[in-house]
Each structure stands twice: as C-alpha cells, then as structure tokens.
C-alpha cells in the first residue's frame, strides 16, 4: 500500500503551500516592516513541510493496509456516536448522554445491547457521583434536574 503515503504527501504538500501563502498575507506590524517578523518562522516551516511531503510522494513507504468499507462504516458510526455525545451532553445531561454513548460504543465493539447499556449507565453514574460529591465539580444534569 504505497498509495497511503502518496495521497497523504499530496494533501500535506497542498497544506504546506497554503500555510506558506497564508504567512505572506499577515498584516504589516505596527512598527513597520522588519527583516524578522511574525511570518519568518511559518515560512521556514512551510518549506520544511513542503520538502518532506514531496519526499513522501516521490519515495513512499509500504504502509499498513486500510480496512474495507465495513471498517470505514464502523469508524464513521463511532465518530457519529462521539459527535452525538458532544451535542447531547448539555441538553440531555451527563448520565443519560453517557449511557447512550458508552452503551452504543460498547455495543459496536461486540457487547450485547443490554449489558452495553448497563456499562454506560454504571460508568456514567459513578463518574457523575465522583465528580459532583467527591470532587465538587458540576457536570450537566440535563433532563434529570430536580426542580
């Protein structure tokens, strides 16, 4: 699989060029242009990044094989779960969101659904109790809030 290095090399080369170009667009500092300024270091880095990524394109290594579509799907699902966790953390509250997120991750890694949910609920509750009463740090209570 030499393609990994090649593709990554090209992407990083584009990034290096964009980064270097970005450095030339900084506004001129208040004291007037100087030989050494905020753009000196980024420009040097852009050159190094560019050269290294060129090397990757020209002389790629054998790298690890990528998983097939199934693996890609699983990874996508895991990332979706994490994103949902972040979005639900405050509105739902820590314990319900954690139960769902940890439960879903456990389930995708091969634990049976009921056991997975229990893992989420138990770990979420214990971390919540530890943080709220042991360490006196507030985690969002969300829908479980007592009025």
């Amino acid at each position: 699989m030499k393609a990994t290095d090649r593709v990554l090399g090209i992407l990083l080369l584009v990034l290096a060029v964009a980064y270097g170009w970005g450095a030339t667009q900084f506004p001129v500092p208040f004291a007037g242009p100087e030989s050494v300024g905020p753009s000196t270091f980024p420009k040097a880095l852009a050159v190094i990044m560019g050269l290294c990524s060129l090397y990757l394109v020209v002389k790629p290594d054998e790298s690890q094989p990528w998983g097939g579509l199934r693996v890609l799907g699983e990874l996508g699902l895991a990332l979706t779960i994490l994103a949902a966790y972040i979005l639900l953390l405050e509105p739902f509250g820590f314990i319900p969101a954690t139960t769902l997120a940890v439960g879903a991750l456990c389930w995708r890694m091969g634990v049976r659904p009921l056991k997975a949910c229990m893992t989420g609920l138990l770990s979420g509750t214990s971390v919540f109790l530890l943080f709220t009463f042991g360490l006196e740090l507030a985690l969002p209570t969300g829908i479980l809030e007592l009025h």
């Binding site: 970005g22 030989s35 905020p38 880095l45 290294c52 953390l89 991750l105 971390v127 943080f131 985690l139």
Partner: protein, 504 residues
C-alpha cells in the same frame, strides 16, 4: 551539600499528607495504566492531565501525581508481559522473554515479586543519578544563548525518533506539523493574528491538552474498533502463592544495579529511551552470566535486567526534561505539557525559579518507588483481576473519562469537537506510520523555539548563519545531524536484532 539541603526540602513537599495521598492514587492508577495492554503510559498520563487540572491541584501536587502515574506505568507494564506474554507497553517487551517462561513453570508470583524489586532498585539507582547529574547539567545550560537553544530544540526533534526509529523524514514532517499548529493564534511579540480565520476560540491558539488527549485517546479507540481486539486476552497461567527465597533476591541484586545504571544512561541520552534501556541491559546480562544461567527459559535475572533497565531509563529521561526542557520520550513530552500549562517554563531556570517543584518531584520519585514496591507485591492480585476486563468494556469508558476531563476544563463543545478531530488526525497518522510524539513536541516547544529563532535573527539583523556561529551550537547541530543519520545507518540492524529475540 546544597543538593542535600534542597532534597530534604523536597521530601518536605513530597511527604505532605495531601501530596502523599495523590502520589498513592497516581501510583495505583499508573500501575493499572501500564498493566492494561493498549492503554500506554503516554496515553494514560494524557488522560490524567485535564483531571489534575480541574481538581485545582497546585502545580507541585499535580506534577507529583503525574510523576507517580509515570513511574507506576513502568511497573505495570511487566504484569501483562509476565502473565500474558503481551507487553503492557513497549519497554516491557523484553520482560516477556524470561518472565512468561518463568510464569509457565508455576513461578508467576516469584517473577512478579522479583521484577517489582528489580524495578525498585533500577529506579532507585537512576534517581540517585538524576539527583547528581541534573543540577550540574542545569548549571551548564544556563550559559546557553538563543542560538544554542534553537540548536538544542532541533536536536530534540532530530533524536526523538530514536536509534530504532523508522523514517526520519516522517518524523521531521510530524515535527513541522506540530510546530505549524503552535503558530496558530495571536503572535506574542507583535500581536499579529496568525491563522485564526477570525474564530474567537483560535485566538489563544490550539490548547495542546485537547490535542494530546485527542491524538492519543481517541485514535486509540478508533484503532481498537478497526482491529476488533474487543475480547480479553486469556491468562495462560495461574498466579501461585509467593515463596521467595532470600537467595534469589540476592541473586538479582547485582543484575538490578547494573540494569539501573545502563537504563539511566540510555534514558539521559537523547533519543535512546526506555525500550533501548531494557534491551541493552538484558543483552549485557545475558552476555555476562549467560553461561551459568538459563536465559530465555525463565531465568530470574532475565526478568530483573530489563525491568531495572526500563525503570532506570524512565528516571533518566527526566534529566533532559527537567534541566533542558526537552523531553526524550512520549510520556515525558506529556509531562512537559503539564508543566507548560501551569505556566512554568521548563529549562535550566526551573532549578532556580521553581526549586521547590523540581526537588519535590525528585523526592516524589523516591517516595513513589517505595509506595509502588509496597503496592505491587501484596496487591498484585487486584491488578491481575483487572487485566481480565475485556477492552470492549474498557475502551468506551476510557474515552468517556477523556471527554469528561476535557469538558471540565472549559465546558465548551468546541474543544470536544477539536479533540475528536485530532483523534481522526492521529488515527490517519498512525495508519501511515507518522509518529505522533513529534507533533506534540512541536506544539509544546513551538513558541519557545520561534522566540529563540527571532532573537538570534533580530540581534544579527537577519543573518541565518548566526544560528551555528558558536562552538557550542555547532556541536549541538552536529549531534542533531547524527541523530538523523544514525537511525538510517544503524536502525534497521538494531530493529532486526530486537525482533528475532522476541519471536523465540
């Protein structure tokens, strides 16, 4: 004698009840982190940082706790090496060679106890070395100017891959990416906005704690999902009742002292690290007493040597970290992140400005080792039980703890999304064999490195050759160059020699 005075004061800090309690917690968690395969020491320490932060610990307490985690992880790595023949972390792989055979002979308890003892002695020897060497090195480093510092940073990057590193170009690329990330935010000396795209959250730059936790913890989760390593490793051996004879303790004593010394040297040298420390001390021990022993079939000395070596190296690696501010390994890089986020500039000035912290940490290392020895011999059963928790339960919970840590620093969803993004980046980099540690080191050292570069250029009106003008800086550049070239020449050979000895 000045050293002794500071050290006593350090003990005063380390033995304060609160610090002692956190040291104990750190030792326990560290051993656990080291023991669980797949949760490496750098990863474990990274998850602990935001927690230490949100607890509102004072810098010395936080650092003492994390140093204990660090020392504990080195102890823990051996448990799964001995019982499962799977190293808990990379330096522990040499312990498999004699540890697992010994366990299969029904001497698992002895192997665990002797290796704990060897770890203790190795670490003790190396900590004494640290106490003697660090102040001298710090005093020497005080004479460094900006050009020398810049060369020193280059040296740190060049040697980070280590003599066993694979592709130096990928390490350099990783370092450049890390440094580039460090330039995001408002430039400190002119106030120019760089790469912020007018996003308010980027004005202060990228928080490297968020980045580190993402790069390590989230990418680890993604790799686990891909590999389906969900089930627990089967313990092939049963832990017997401990029957330790005084003779076998005496037998490993010289081995452990030698191993500790070698490990210390390997730890101090830039780019060598704990893996090489344990490899060198095992090989030497085999050469030295090989004829009289039964190495590879469960010789106690074959368990003691690599354990003393990797614990020695762990303490040795703190020397360049504390005195020069350049970490020699991934885990010390993460420890450095902790220092930087407490607004303590690592480097030689730390010994004068923050003497209490430095010596508190060194004393904590000694105290921590005693705690670890006490923890490890009677409590080894608990760690063995926890080893049998399958990763498919563990990894999601660890990920959740990482989320909680980052969330509790800033209460911002932006940081959490950033963490996940860094996780994806870390996953892609690991698939492409691009090392992650230089990225982190780049983010950490970037601001200091740029500051020194601009000092040199400003003083000499933009003359770049001034970077290698003095003899000292020229020497540092030379070592850096050697650090880049040597792995290409020697690395393949060393890797070959380390590999077959493992497959036997």
């Amino acid at each position: 004698m000045e050293v002794l005075h500071y050290l006593l004061e350090g003990f005063g800090t380390a033995l304060a009840p609160e610090n002692l309690m956190y040291a104990l917690i750190g030792c326990f968690l560290g051993t656990l982190i080291g023991a669980l395969p797949g949760l490496g020491p750098a990863n474990g320490v990274a998850i602990m940082i935001p927690l230490a932060f949100t607890l509102g610990l004072r810098p010395e307490t936080a650092l003492i706790m994390l140093t204990s985690v660090y020392a504990g992880a080195m102890y823990g790595g051996r448990i799964s090496s001995i019982l499962l023949n799977i190293p808990g972390d990379e330096p522990a792989m040499m312990t498999c060679l004699d540890g697992y055979p010994m366990a299969r002979k029904g001497k698992a308890a002895e192997a665990l106890a002797l290796s704990a003892l060897a770890s203790f002695i190795g670490s003790l020897v190396a900590t004494v070395g640290l106490i003697l060497l660090a102040p001298i090195l710090a005093r020497f480093a005080l004479s460094f100017g900006p050009a020398e510092y810049f060369a020193l940073f280059i040296l740190a990057f060049a040697t980070l891959g280590g003599v066993t590193g694979k592709n130096p170009v990928k390490s350099a690329l990783a370092a450049a990416i890390g440094l580039a990330i460090a330039t995001i935010g408002i430039d400190l000396s002119t106030g120019t906005q760089r790469y912020t795209f007018d996003v308010l959250e980027l004005f202060e730059g990228v928080d490297f704690i968020v980045a580190i936790v993402g790069l390590f913890a989230i990418s680890e989760l993604l790799l686990f999902i891909e590999d389906h390593h969900g089930s627990a490793p089967r313990a092939g051996v049963i832990v017997n009742r401990l029957a330790l004879s005084f003779r076998s303790v005496l037998q490993i004593l010289p081995t452990s002292i030698r191993g500790g010394l070698l490990g210390f040297i390997a730890g101090v040298l830039p780019g060598a690290g704990a893996s090489l420390g344990s490899f060198v001390s095992y090989t030497l021990e085999k050469k030295l007493v090989g004829a009289k022993g039964c190495f590879g079939e469960g010789d106690p000395r074959g368990v003691a040597a690599p354990e003393a070596g990797n614990n020695g190296a762990a303490s040795g690696a703190l020397v360049p970290m504390l005195t020069l501010g350049i970490p020699g390994s991934g885990t010390t890089a993460v420890l450095l992140a902790m220092l930087v986020s407490f607004n303590i500039t690592p480097g030689p000035m730390m010994f004068t400005q923050h003497a209490d912290i430095v010596w508190g940490v060194i004393a904590a290392l000694l105290v921590g080792n005693i705690l670890l020895l006490l923890l490890n011999i009677p409590l080894v059963g608990i760690f063995v039980k926890l080893l049998s928790v399958p990763p498919r339960y563990l990894m999601p919970v660890v990920t959740m703890v990482a989320f909680v840590g980052v969330y509790s620093i800033s209460h911002s969803a932006f940081d959490l999304f950033f963490m996940v993004a860094f996780g994806v980046l870390g996953y892609i980099f690991r698939k492409a064999d691009i090392p992650l540690v230089p990225v982190i080191l780049g983010m950490l050292l970037g601001p200091e490195m740029e500051k020194n570069l601009r000092h040199v250029l400003q003083i000499h009106d933009g003359d770049w050759t001034m970077l290698w003008d003095s003899g000292l800086s020229l020497g540092l550049w030379g070592v850096a160059l050697a650090g880049l070239v040597l792995p290409v020449l020697l690395g393949a050979r060393l890797r070959r020699r380390m590999r077959p000895s493992l497959q036997d």
